[in-house]
């Protein structure tokens, strides 16, 4: 069974995704649970439109991007180890510095 989740990009992160802020996706069925660790390269390989280095560094998001699981900082949810649940909303926010 595939896992339906929603991805959201804001703060400029959406510019790497054709300016589309919200993406409803179905993660393909796999043997082990989907973790954010696997989600990140999946996003990079499947929906990212340009400059992957502005999204990922090594196996995680690049510094300056906050990741949220259903409105909560992923640091409180296990970060890369978090197991995705159906209908989760994963948000990637690029920090703003302008004023």
């Amino acid at each position: 069974m595939s896992i339906p989740i929603t991805l959201e990009f804001s703060g400029g992160a959406e510019l790497l995704f054709d300016r589309q802020k919200r993406h409803d996706i179905d993660l393909p069925k796999q043997e082990n649970p989907w973790r954010i660790q696997e989600l990140l390269p999946w996003i990079r390989d499947n929906i990212l439109k340009e400059r992957p280095e502005l999204f990922m560094q090594g196996n995680t998001v690049r510094p300056g991007i906050l990741v949220l699981v259903n409105d909560t900082d992923w640091e409180l949810m296990g970060e890369l180890e978090y197991n995705l649940q159906p209908n989760d909303r994963i948000i990637f926010i690029s920090t703003l510095h302008g004023g």
């Binding site: 804001s10 703060g11 400029g12 280095e53 502005l54 560094q57 690049r62 510094p63 300056g64 906050l66 949220l68 409105d71 909560t72 900082d73 640091e75 409180l76 948000i91 926010i93 690029s94 920090t95 703003l96 510095h97 302008g98 004023g99």
Partner: protein, 283 residues
Amino acid sequence: LQKDVKGLTNEEIRRYSRQLLLPELGVKGQQALKSSTVLIVGAGGLCCPSAIYLAAAGIGQLGIIDYDEVEISNLHRQVLHRESKIGVSKSVSAVAACQELNSSVNYVPYHLPLDSSNALQIIQQYDLVLDATDNVATRYLLNDACILAGKPLVSGSALRFEGQLTVYNYMGGPCYRCLYPKPPPPETVTNCSDGGVLGVVPGIIGCLQALEAIKILTGQGSSYSQKMLLFDALDGSFQTIKLRGRQPQCPVCGDNPSITKLIDYEQFCGAKATDKDKVLELL
């Protein structure tokens, strides 16, 4: 004539009457504001609304720091400045506008770049700091200085149609470095000169910074410690997210801090602490 009533003059009672009526504020809250000092770093799009509303509310002392002068490209969002002030120091211009609204506030304009050599000495004189800057290096500097000096930091930012607001170093909550231990790669950082910004977006965030400052100073507490407000002007949406707590291993606010004095932040970030508005070449 200016008889003191519970520490407020008759003039102050008339001026602040509409907020004295609020039971959550009242005479006690007004006195708390009057005896409070706030420093705003950056005299741009976020500072203009926050400075004028703090001045209007009757803050005791308002310091404003900026190294820059007013340019015409500032005026679409930096609404305290004026056409007649082009070329004038932004901190002086902002203070002059606030002065005309409320001359009873003690204003201190600082026409200088905040850096590691002066930040602590200035910040120590204030109860609370507003981050209204426009670049990463100054945001790390300000964070570290507020941790070292023990001051809450009300942080706002805006770009394009979006704004973000949070409060650092308040009531045991996290600091900027707890959230962002590593600076972003310089090529990922977009400032208002490069990315543009709708003027009223920093307007809204700056007002909210003033509000959080007032709530903290009058003992209401902040709504945005360990939380962040995300504002999207295009769809008119506000979203509050829950942030991590203070990180015990944070290099500046953690249990065994490795940063115990200010460092070189331009080197740390690999980026300059300036966002000089450039002349736009359109067409």
